[in-house]
């Protein structure tokens, strides 16, 4: 039963799924059979980019090299690649080829353009614990920002709920393709995340409503009380699974959607992503995870990550950061442009994220800014390493690194051909491929005509 469901895709990637510890059967049935990905790669032609400067996303740069793609997969990368007959050859002399950009922190679709109240679906601001909500149930696939992000080379993105709640809900990982349904964008086999938030947002939002939490200590108490209930819920379902083995007629405990999400996080079936800025609070988040024995996948924003040495690495988490955002609010005052480089230099898994429908259009430039800030303070950071901040490392954090994020043979052909060095402000994506399918071609606007919302305003597309 379990194996059948796992091969159905939804939970297939979770190596942490322990044998013998079954997920609640009813929950499994609901998750796996009803909300599956229907994404299918489009048509693709065998393609070779030749004489390109290649950043492989895993930390290597290969000059004057070839990337060979076929059947939606990377076939070979190197300076000595035989090109089979029938392959479309693109001379990429002077141009660069990289894996597609992966943004681990996006709200496209849940805070769609135009940002009117009707399309503001990213925060369920009704209770500080809404672990039961799923971002994919809010994503509007017609958000015109998806196509703008495609033009910026983004091939995969995680849509997170917002950060007003202690437990904000489940995230979804999407392929950046045009689709009528969100199911048609869901990355097959990629797991969900559980978004949590610490710091100013929850205590301000609920404090203003004269509700808990209204302080950081109130937030901490809120997390702990909820995790205690979730641990208990998990135990009850585990006991039921054991009882059912002896007695198939055993009756299951009542389902609770909120606790189901949290129990899945405790089991490691759902990756935990925590919005947290300040160094002291990040350390509290790691202690909290120890108390309830769950793994944190990423600390989101980690504005003060540079104050924490190798704490992320020691806790098996990635730090997911802006290049140079700071200010706005008190907990962002200590943001510095060297943050990403300093966090990376301590052996931590560093990620550059956008958290913006604008920055997602040039996340390569944010990686560049972070890299140059590090170089300026004397660090040796290669462009190949910096590219891993927006491809290899995000793939790792999302648990999809066996499929995308690098240009290794066998990986999905998620590839960007850049007009030049993608660390230059003047460079643009010439071609963007998802599973080998061209989803954006700078010279052929017919390839990506935007979302349905873009129709009726053809003038803007003609201008670009």
């Amino acid at each position: 039963m379990r194996d059948g469901l796992r091969s159905a895709g939804f939970l297939a990637l979770f190596s942490l799924l322990q044998p013998g510890v079954a997920y609640g059967q009813m929950a499994l049935e609901a998750d796996a059979s009803l909300y599956q990905s229907t994404y299918q790669p489009g048509a693709s032609a065998p393609t070779a980019f030749t004489h390109a400067t290649i950043l492989d996303g895993a930390g290597d740069q290969i000059d004057d090299a070839t990337v060979l793609l076929a059947e939606g997969k990377v076939v070979a990368v190197g300076t000595n690649v035989a090109i089979p007959p029938g392959t479309k050859v693109v001379d990429a002399r002077g141009r660069w080829v990289t894996p597609g950009i992966i943004d681990v922190h996006s709200h496209l679709g849940v805070y769609a353009s135009p940002l009117v109240k009707s399309l503001s679906d990213g925060n369920e601001i009704s209770d500080p614990n809404t672990a039961e909500v799923w971002a994919e149930h809010s994503v509007w696939p017609q958000d015109p920002a998806f196509s703008r992000a495609r033009a910026g080379g983004v091939t995969t993105l995680q849509i997170l709920p917002g950060s007003t709640n202690l437990f904000a809900g489940r995230s979804v990982v999407l392929r950046n393709v045009r689709s009528v349904t969100v199911q048609g964008m869901k990355f097959p086999g990629a797991g969900q995340g559980l978004k949590m938030a610490c710091g100013e947002n929850p205590k301000t939002v609920y404090g203003d409503m004269r509700r808990a939490p209204s302080s950081r200590m109130g937030s901490m108490a809120g997390y702990r009380a909820a995790w205690i209930r979730a641990s208990d819920y998990r135990q009850r379902w585990d006991a039921y699974e054991k009882a059912k083995a002896a007695n198939p007629a055993a009756s299951p405990p009542p389902r609770d959607l909120e606790l189901e999400s949290m129990a899945a996080a405790l089991r490691g079936d759902i990756r935990v992503h925590i919005h947290c800025y300040r160094a002291d609070e990040i350390a509290q988040m790691f202690d909290l995870a120890k108390e309830f024995d769950y793994q944190i996948a990423t600390i989101e924003h980690a504005v003060e990550g540079y104050k924490l040495g190798d704490l992320f690495r020691r806790n098996g988490a990635c730090a997911s950061m802006w290049a140079d955002m700071w200010g706005y609010k008190m907990e962002m005052q200590d943001g510095i442009p060297e943050n990403v480089a300093m966090v990376a230099s301590k052996g931590n898994c560093a990620i550059v994220h956008s958290d913006s429908d604008d920055r997602i259009q040039q996340l390569n430039q944010d990686a560049a800014k972070a890299m140059f800030a590090g170089r300026r303070m004397g660090m040796e950071i290669s462009k190949a390493t910096a590219w891993s901040w927006i491809s290899g490392n995000p793939a790792r954090a999302l648990g999809i690194d066996d499929q995308t994020g690098t240009l290794a043979p066998g990986k999905r052909a998620d590839v960007v051909l850049w007009s030049g060095d993608p660390f230059s402000v003047y460079t643009r994506a010439d071609l963007v491929l998802v599973d080998g399918t061209v989803t954006y071609d700078r010279r052929d606007p017919s390839i990506d005509q935007g979302s349905d919302f873009d129709l009726g305003h053809p003038s803007a597309r003609k201008a670009s």
Partner: protein
């Protein structure tokens, strides 16, 4: 009598301040030698050039060129020298934390005043972002009031990015009005209301009318603030995005010929580029804008700057669609993105130097490295629009400005 004199004094004040700000900063002579000097003026770009600065002014720009014996020499070999950058849409000097009223002097939703609101009183050299702006090569900025509860946001100011108070360069440098979606919202829900309120205010200010006695109506001080706008003494920065709104602003001058509008935002400006160019009305825009983030920017495109530039419109750039402080680092990047989408490199640099200086009426003193102008200049390690480049030296009014930021001190504490 006093009622006549007071506005006159208020109008003279900025001129006096401007004189004070451009007075000799020091008797020192500075020579920047061997640089690639991008003057943005008639001298064009001078390779291997020397800029001599004395008493706060540029006294010569020449290829090679003799260096006075008493000069402090800055070797700019392999480096680029440009005019100091001008941020046309900032809250620099006004806002420490956008999110908190007690750290934000750019907006006053609760104020009884609207057009009379004046950012100059909130300026402080102590604001953290000033040093960050300097480190980005920004030497001057427009401090823009944020929309309050009315269509008029009040007077903006020009500010100098120097580390000592006062940083005011010109008070009452422009009036700001919201005539797009924000204006419509503030006026009760529609442009039809915003424009009637706007036209009524212009009419009353022109006629010297007494204000109506009503809590919501413009106060005497507001009408007095609008009068110099009608008379063309103070430019009017108009926030509009939609092409149709832009055309309505252009048409204003048939009734108010002395009005000096500056289009602010103008996401759909490219659709009416020829009309804007013919009206000789400048545009302050954000080169990043590409999304229909509201129904007034349905035709937004990153080609906007290139199309307007091609049409001959005087351009200035803002680092973000809203004048938010933390984005100062994006001013140069935005100019670079405008180039990536087709604007010429020279026009892009002009939009962050001479363009805004001219738009704000300080083009005779600032914005280019011409002999006689105030010595605001930046020595860069490379192309100033590139992500790899940074400001190595910044001169403001002929004085070397510290580029150490609070962020640098944090970095060094934890490195």
């Amino acid at each position: 009598m006093i009622r006549l004199l007071a506005p006159l004094l208020l109008l003279l004040a900025p001129l006096l301040l401007l004189l004070a700000a451009t007075a000799p900063a020091s008797a020192r002579t500075i020579a920047i030698v061997n640089g690639k000097i991008v003057t943005m003026g008639p001298a064009g770009t001078v390779e291997g050039g020397t800029v001599i600065v004395r008493d706060g002014k540029i006294v010569s720009v020449a290829k090679g060129g003799a260096v006075p014996a008493d000069a402090e020499v800055i070797d700019a070999k392999g480096k680029w020298v440009t005019p100091g950058l001008f941020d046309s849409s900032s809250q620099l000097g006004l806002v420490e934390l956008v999110a908190f009223a007690n750290a934000n002097d750019a907006s006053a939703r609760g104020s009884r005043y609207s057009a009379a609101f004046d950012v100059q009183f909130g300026l402080s050299a102590g604001i953290t972002s000033l040093a960050v702006a300097r480190s980005q090569g920004i030497t001057r900025a427009a401090a823009v009031p944020a929309a309050g509860a009315h269509i008029f946001s009040g007077f903006g100011a020009l500010v100098t990015m120097k580390p000592q108070d006062p940083i005011l360069l010109r008070s009452r440098a422009f009036q700001f009005v919201e005539l797009g979606t924000t204006g419509a919202t503030n006026a009760g829900g529609a442009r039809g209301a915003a424009w009637i309120e706007f036209l009524d205010a212009l009419r009353m200010a022109k006629a010297g009318a007494e204000p109506a006695y009503s809590e919501k109506a413009l106060k005497q001080a507001d009408l007095e603030a609008i009068r110099p706008v009608v008379e063309g003494i103070v430019p009017l920065m108009v926030h509009v995005e939609r092409a149709s709104d832009i055309l309505q602003v252009l048409a204003l001058r048939s009734s108010y010929p002395r009005l000096r509008p500056i289009l602010f935002g103008a996401a759909e400006g490219w659709m009416v580029a020829r009309e804007i160019a013919e009206a000789r009305i400048p545009v302050i825009l954000c080169p990043f804008v590409s999304l229909p983030s509201s129904f007034e920017t349905l035709a937004a495109t990153r080609r906007n700057a290139a199309i307007l530039g091609e049409a001959g419109v005087t351009l200035a750039f803002m680092p973000a669609p809203k004048p938010d402080v933390p984005m100062v680092g994006q001013l140069r990047q935005g100019a670079g993105i405008a180039v990536a989408y087709g604007l010429s490199w020279e026009d892009a640099l002009r939009a962050v130097t001479l363009g805004p200086a001219e738009i704000f009426g300080v083009g005779a003193q600032l914005g280019s490295l011409d002999v006689g102008k105030t010595a605001d200049l930046v020595v860069w390690n490379g192309d100033p629009l590139e992500l790899s480049s940074y400001a190595e030296k910044v001169l403001i009014g002929g004085r070397t400005a510290s580029l150490i930021t609070r962020q640098d001190e944090l970095r060094d504490r934890y490195r």
